[in-house]
């Protein structure tokens, strides 16, 4: 980041690029990073992403000046406590499965309002707290990993996040600990007019084994709101993590701009499934990088757009060293007049020999006015690797619908079975039935909302 003044500019790209190791310079203080990001924020305009020949994603309609970061009191007096969920917002209790968990941290708008961690886990050295607290109390880990592989200045909203984030989430799992139940991270948008700049830092030390479920939720409301997020997860030697995101911003004009990075260390493993199931305008850069030899990953993804939603996903499967393994599998559907744009990139860097990976993108069109663009890309700079991709673009198969109708299912039920079946290969491997069931029910609700469009499409063919 340069100290020189930066002239106002519109940052536009014709191709999407992997982060590829970009991050804050070693030794940067939090305050200096905030200051540098602030300069970029002030000198740049709202981002417009262009993928040449395919799509344009513009946040230019966002009225940033009308948004504010709102703060709320914590239910425990401090950000860390072991309270019951009785005071939690109804949206959370109605959405997030009521099931055993290792811990839970909740951020409403600009504030962490709830944090719970089982006492025995705290005694074993696990830390779950706000990132603001971690910057003070866990300074060594914070300084080592904060923004380690996340840039903070590629565009105005990324810079806004780096400059203005509040609350935040910090999870540190010590070496060798195996935790069966998930840690839950919940981001809630309280209503229109809110800007939430969320920040998550997770470090899994060597041989740790744990699960993280992150939720992004908002009620249906009228008006604009903004969620930006910078998420970083580092898995050290032999660590294993099953990571899932459930995003449903409701029907409000929620603008969501996220950069998420997962770094897989030596012999470590990550199973990652983002489920992007609702948002007015969403831009996600999701990068899973095998950073050291022996790392392996299963990178899954689900999206379903309907109404007038617009989604832009850049999913990166990066191999910085070899030997390494990768397996990327995304499935998405679009209904209504929605637009889903996705680029899946396999990138194998020079020297990452013996990397083996496969990328598959499957999409289903449910409406003539919906549009899905899916681009699989492969950039390989090593000669002893295997990297390939495949994909399908499908529509509802009338022969399948008739088959199910002939067994007594009405047409909407038959369509639901087909769409659920389309996503099921990814849900069945989640190894978490409450979360899988939540995703299924959200898919069913989106499908029901799109039913009129789907029928119109069927009768027009």
């Amino acid at each position: 980041m340069s100290e020189a003044p930066v002239r106002p500019q519109r940052r536009e790209a014709t191709l999407y690029h992997a982060l590829d190791g970009a991050g804050a310079p070693a030794g940067s203080s939090l305050s200096s990073l905030r200051e540098q990001a602030l300069r970029v924020y002030e000198s740049s305009e709202l981002p417009v992403w262009r993928r040449s020949g395919f799509w344009t994603t513009s946040f230019a309609d966002l009225d940033l000046d009308a948004l504010e970061v709102r703060h709320h009191a914590s239910d425990a007096g401090s950000a860390e406590g072991a309270r019951t969920g009785s005071t939690l917002p109804a949206l959370l209790t109605a959405t997030v499965p009521d099931r055993p968990r290792a811990g839970r941290i909740v951020q409403l708008d600009g504030s962490v309002i709830h944090c719970e961690l089982a006492a025995d886990l705290r005694e074993q050295g696990i830390v779950l707290c706000s990132l603001e607290e971690a910057a003070e109390r866990e300074a060594k880990t914070f300084e080592r990993w904060y923004s380690h592989r996340l840039p903070g200045d590629r565009h105005k909203l990324e810079a806004a996040n780096s400059a203005f984030w509040t609350g935040g989430v910090f999870l540190h799992v010590p070496a060798g600990l195996r935790i069966e139940e998930p840690f839950e991270i919940v981001h809630l948008l309280g209503g229109p007019g809110v800007a939430q700049h969320a920040r998550v830092l997770i470090v899994g030390e060597a041989q740790s084994d744990f699960r993280v479920h992150e939720y992004g939720l908002a009620e249906d409301f009228e008006g604009q709101a903004l969620h930006t997020e910078a998420f970083e997860l580092y898995l050290l030697d032999g660590a294993r993590c099953r990571l899932a995101h459930f995003q449903d911003w409701g029907s409000g004009e929620v603008h969501d701009s996220c950069t998420r990075y997962v770094g897989v260390g030596r012999d470590a493993y990550c199973h990652w499934l983002p489920a992007l199931l609702g948002g007015h305008l969403v831009h996600e850069h999701l990068e899973l990088a095998v950073s050291e030899p022996g790392g392996d990953m299963a990178y899954r993804g689900i999206f379903f757009t309907e109404g007038e939603e617009q989604l832009d996903v850049f999913a990166v499967d990066l191999h910085e060293t070899g030997p390494s393994g990768g397996d990327v599998h995304w499935r998405g559907a679009a209904a209504g007049q929605s637009r889903a744009s996705m680029e899946g990139l396999i990138k194998i860097n020079p020297g990452a020999q013996q990397s083996h990976t496969y990328l598959q993108l499957h999409t289903m069109m449910l409406s003539p006015k919906a549009r899905i663009d899916a681009i699989p890309s492969v950039l390989v700079s090593a000669d002893d690797v295997s990297a390939s991709h495949g994909g399908t673009v499908g529509e509802l198969d009338e022969s399948l619908i008739f088959y199910m109708q002939s067994r007594g299912l009405d047409r909407p039920a038959a369509v639901r079975v087909i769409v659920e079946g389309f996503f099921e290969p990814l849900l069945s491997e989640l190894e978490d039935e409450p979360l899988a069931e939540l995703i299924r029910s959200r898919l069913a609700a989106k499908l029901a909302a799109a039913n009129a469009d789907i029928e119109a499409y069927a009768s027009s063919r």
Partner: protein, 251 residues
């Protein structure tokens, strides 16, 4: 009383008239065989009876249990007690046989079927069809062999307990053991549940295991000859040419 009555049925698809006036009655508990050369309209009749949207009924009626179902939706016909075992069953990825059956059974009921009751029904049907229990946890027809698909059709029929089943060339593509299993399954359902069936077939071999009381010969979209099982033997001897000559005026 005929449970299924087809009256002067004319059906068109893609601007071509396929059925040109079919009359047929199938009563509960009766076994009928429908035979005819390729392209005579047998599968069109089967699909039309279940309301396939690609087939347009231009005139005539389909009456089931006294109700005119000519314009009914496919699921309404199914829930009224009609069943079609498909010639080419489609795969439903991501949906297990058991889950699909549970959905289909629940579609007929006000209250969802209980876990115990469903399990008992499934066990009985699995034994009837001589299939491995693990079969029911596989995605329906996804990666199934030809024989497995046909067994899955009969398994569904056993679970859904229709009054009248139309079996559209269920015997095609089956080896002799699979054919026997499928045929025995149909026979047991006939004996136990009083199933009425319209068995569409090209061959005599299926009818060795399930003897039809009535045999109908279809040529060029019409049923031109009806009789008992002796018709099957005649067909084996003479083929369709002799019948075509006899009924040339009709076709």
């Amino acid at each position: 009383m005929a449970d299924l009555e087809i009256r002067d049925l004319h059906v068109r698809t893609e601007d071509r008239e396929i059925l040109k006036g079919v009359d047929l009655r199938v009563a509960h508990g009766e076994i009928h065989a429908l035979m005819g050369p390729n392209g005579s309209g047998k599968s069109t009749l089967a699909n039309t009876l279940l309301g396939h949207p690609a087939y347009e009924v231009t005139s005539g009626q389909i009456i089931f249990n006294g109700e005119d179902i000519t314009a009914a939706e496919p699921h309404e016909r199914a829930n009224a007690g009609l069943f079609l075992a498909f010639q080419y069953p489609v795969a439903i990825p991501g949906v297990s046989v058991a889950n699909f059956l549970r959905m289909a059974i629940n579609a007929k009921r006000d209250e969802p079927i209980g876990v115990k009751e469903f399990r008992a029904m499934l066990t009985e049907a699995v034994e009837l069809l001589d299939v491995d229990r693990s079969f029911t946890s596989r995605a329906l027809n996804d990666g199934f062999s030809g024989g497995e698909k046909k067994r899955a059709e009969i398994l569904q029929m056993a679970m859904l307990a229709p009054q009248i089943a139309i079996l559209d060339e269920t015997d095609s593509g089956l080896d002799i053991d699979a054919l026997r299993t499928v045929a025995e399954g149909v026979s047991k359902l006939h004996a136990q549940q009083g199933l009425g069936a319209l068995i569409i077939t090209h061959y005599q071999r299926m009818l060795h295991y399930i003897e039809p009381q009535f045999v109908h010969i279809m040529l060029d979209g019409r049923i031109v000859l009806e009789g008992g099982v002796e018709l099957v033997e005649r067909l084996e001897r003479e083929g369709y040419d002799e019948i075509r000559k006899e009924h040339g005026a009709l076709v």
